[in-house]
């Protein structure tokens, strides 16, 4: 059992939860994830470890409540317990000194991006961060990312904060000026965003790393459900990833596989609404 130490709402249906998991806190590295199962009968949900405090034995998770099982996770109150937290899983981010890097986060992906951007900054990189969201309420970790970035650019689809439009417009501007053009790009967010970023950087051949979020069960390579096509070859996001060279990823296949159970989830949600008063 893993105690929830804090549980804050960062954005609509997006929670920051600090969980007591000393072994994971001691062994995790940026880019790795845990599998969380809040209670018996719930799904096993992969969640990136946002941060960790080895001294007190806690890890920070950012959880977007999008389905039945993630809603149960965020509904766990402070002092309550998550039944299962297993990890750290996946390969850590490969950190090197690139020079100028652009770190791009979309929605909950911004939370996944944070430990990575922090590690890149600590390794001596010049970090420019771009945060995108539907509206101002969905822009998260602005202050945390400002502390480690040379500059933070914000884009919203409705223009309610920062520039109106998508993260790609901000990135295109950076790329247009040789003085700001990044040597490497890290993009974490919804699949369409990551795909758009990799298409933008492809012509100039700028290294673009993405963090993939396919459906997983065990997270240890056993089931192969998280397979993604990288250069046409099946790779398991849980053991070979979750980060891959974005220019080699088949995003269309990833996007399609992510939709596998959506109809199933929708049916379940309807059912839940019916039984709740």
């Amino acid at each position: 059992m893993f105690e929830v130490v804090s549980n804050d709402i960062l954005a609509p249906s997006l929670h920051r939860m600090v969980v007591r998991a000393p072994r994971v806190a001691a062994s995790r590295k940026p880019g790795q994830f845990v599998i969380v199962r809040s209670a018996p009968e719930e799904e096993r949900i992969p969640l990136t470890i946002g941060d960790a405090d080895n001294a007190v034995g806690t890890i920070t998770l950012f959880v977007q409540a999008i389905g039945a099982s993630t809603r149960t996770i965020v509904a766990t109150p402070v002092g309550g317990f998550l039944r299962d937290v297993a990890g750290p899983l996946g390969l850590p981010t490969h950190i090197e000194q690139w020079g100028r890097v652009a770190c791009i986060g979309g929605g909950v992906g911004t939370a996944v991006l944070y430990p990575l951007a922090k590690a890149l900054a600590e390794a001596g990189n010049d970090v420019t961060t771009i945060i995108g969201g539907r509206a101002d309420a969905f822009i998260i970790l602005k202050h945390e990312l400002s502390a480690i970035s040379k500059e933070v650019l914000i884009t919203t689809e409705d223009g309610s904060m920062g520039r109106k439009g998508f993260v790609t417009a901000a990135l295109a501007d950076l790329m247009a000026d040789p003085a700001t053009c990044p040597q490497a790009v890290f993009a974490i967010g919804p699949v369409p965003m990551m795909r758009a970023v990799t298409e933008l950087t492809r012509p100039q051949g700028i290294t673009t790393i993405v963090s993939l979020n396919p459906i997983m069960i065990d997270g240890t390579g056993m089931c192969g459900g998280c397979r993604v096509l990288v250069e046409g070859e099946p790779r398991f996001a849980c053991v070979d990833g979750p980060e891959f060279d974005g220019h080699k990823v088949d995003f269309e296949n990833l996007f399609d596989r992510l939709s596998t159970y959506r109809s199933h989830e929708a049916a379940n949600c309807r059912l839940n609404r019916q039984v709740q008063p």
């Binding site: 065990d218 390579g221 099946p234």
Partner: protein, 469 residues
């Protein structure tokens, strides 16, 4: 009464039949198919054993169960005595009585099989183990030995790990099992379906080990949460039994379509997570009306019989050799056929097709014929050109096998591996590292529950010898 029976009288008794749930009933539920022998049938079956001096059956058993001895007690209606003998030799008798391929092991060696049918050793093992579970009080607790003060870490709570734990605990050693998943049992729980091995049986066997002070910590992945090096520092010895790993891909077009599962994913969703089996389970599964399962082993049978139970109208086995070469147990093939599973033999998949909506629509196959024997000794399947045809399918399950689990070995660079990534170990389970032993599928590649248990037993003996030396 029985002691006065003559051999002639014993030989006159015919082999018992296992009572089964009717195929029409069971093919739509997950209840256990084999119902177990009644007392009278078990007693009579036990009397068929002629108590040979030269115990061939014991040699056929990877864990060396004292078969004539426990069967002798059953024949005398001393079930408590039988249970004590059985449990002394076998940490998981209720599991073995259900899933061991007795027909190729102990029963294959039974002298009664030469001129007729072997004694139903597996049925009797299950009968005694089930009796012991229901009558635990009459058996009493095994007297705990004095603690040796030695502590052993076991990576993996499957059949090899559980067996080693039981053996080591009985010798007075402290044992901690680390399990990567959230529940115990390993492949016994995520792999083998409820209708062959009820989860309650695994729970009972695990509880018995816990009562012997075996500690089990779930959600700990050795190689990730803790490393082998950390275990070696904190424990006097380590037994690695973390099982098989990554599913072997088919490497045919369409493998990433929605509705294509590896056997591990398909079975884990249903067996471990309860998908399609329990209304309250949140994990989903695509059920499918036409389900094609590729492979001919027990895992393939488990998948295809599960598909039937989830409502598949056509549940098919696609196998590239003929039925004679199938590695699955005869009983599994028989049960599958009774349940309406179709067997498409000498058929190999070429591609998985969709109607451009991302979902599986059909499996393209071609006919095969058998050529010369290959390295496995079985006749090699050879494609017959121009015989491609499409089988409508909305779920395809790949049950062709698994490779070695890389998580532990990736963070243990000193540990010797073979070219397939399996850990190299001698007969006792010893690896190239002092105090580090390994067994089960991580050493053997894909094998059986009982061979993994045999490894666990061997390794426990070797570990104990290492610790007292």
């Amino acid at each position: 009464m029985t002691t006065t029976m003559t051999t002639r009288e014993r030989l006159a008794i015919g082999r018992v039949r296992m009572p089964e749930l009717a195929a029409t009933v069971r093919s739509s539920n997950f209840e256990e198919v084999n119902r177990g022998l009644g007392s009278d049938d078990a007693l009579r079956e036990a009397q068929r054993c002629i108590q040979c001096k030269n115990r061939q059956c014991v040699e056929g058993c990877p864990v060396g169960v004292s078969i004539p001895e426990f069967i002798g007690r059953v024949a005398e209606n001393d079930l408590a005595g039988a249970a004590r003998i059985l449990r002394y030799d076998n940490a998981l008798p209720a599991v073995c009585g259900r899933v061991c391929p007795q027909e190729t092991q102990c029963e294959a060696k039974c002298v009664r099989g030469i001129k007729g049918e072997a004694v139903a050793i597996g049925y009797l093992e299950r009968f005694v183990a089930d009796w012991a579970m229901e009558n635990a009080i009459q058996l009493g607790m095994e007297k705990p030995p004095p603690p040796t003060g030695k502590r052993i870490a076991i990576a993996g709570c499957g059949p090899a790990g559980l067996t080693a734990a039981g053996e080591l605990a009985r010798l007075g050693h402290g044992v901690v099992i680390f399990e990567a998943l959230h529940d115990t049992g390993g492949v016994l729980r995520y792999g083998i379906p409820e209708f062959r091995l009820p989860k309650a049986i695994i729970d009972a066997e695990v509880d018995r080990l816990r009562a012997m002070d075996v500690e089990i910590e779930c959600n700990v992945i050795i190689g990730k949460t803790l490393t082998l090096a950390q275990l070696r520092q904190k424990f006097d010895a380590v037994f690695i039994a973390n099982g098989a790993g990554l599913p072997t891909m088919l490497n045919i077009p369409g493998e990433n379509l929605k509705g294509v599962y590896s056997a591990n994913e398909y079975l884990t969703r249903i067996n471990l997570m309860g998908a399609g089996r329990r209304a309250e389970a949140a994990t989903p599964i695509i059920k499918g009306r036409n389900v094609a399962v590729i492979g001919g082993g027990n895992t393939a049978m488990d998948c295809v019989r599960t598909a039937r139970r989830l409502g598949a109208e056509r549940a098919m086995i696609i196998y590239r050799r003929s039925e004679a070469e199938m590695p699955a147990r005869v009983e599994e093939i028989k049960h599958a056929k009774e349940e309406g599973v179709e067997f498409l033999m000498l058929t190999a998949p070429v591609a998985i097709l969709s109607e451009n909506d991302g979902w599986v629509a059909a499996l393209r196959c071609r006919h095969m014929e058998l050529g010369e024997p290959d390295a496995s000794g079985r006749r090699k399947p050879v494609p017959v050109e121009g015989t491609e045809y499409d089988i409508p399918a909305d779920v395809v399950v790949n049950a062709v096998g698994t490779g070695a689990n890389p998580l532990l070995t990736a963070t243990a660079p000193d540990l010797a591996l073979n070219k397939w990534g399996n850990i190299v170990a001698d007969e006792s389970g010893l690896t190239n590292l002092a105090g580090v032993f390994a067994g089960g599928d991580i050493v053997r590649g894909g094998a059986t529950v009982i061979l993994a248990m045999g490894d666990g037993k061997q390794a426990a003996a070797a570990i104990s010898a290492f610790l007292v030396s």
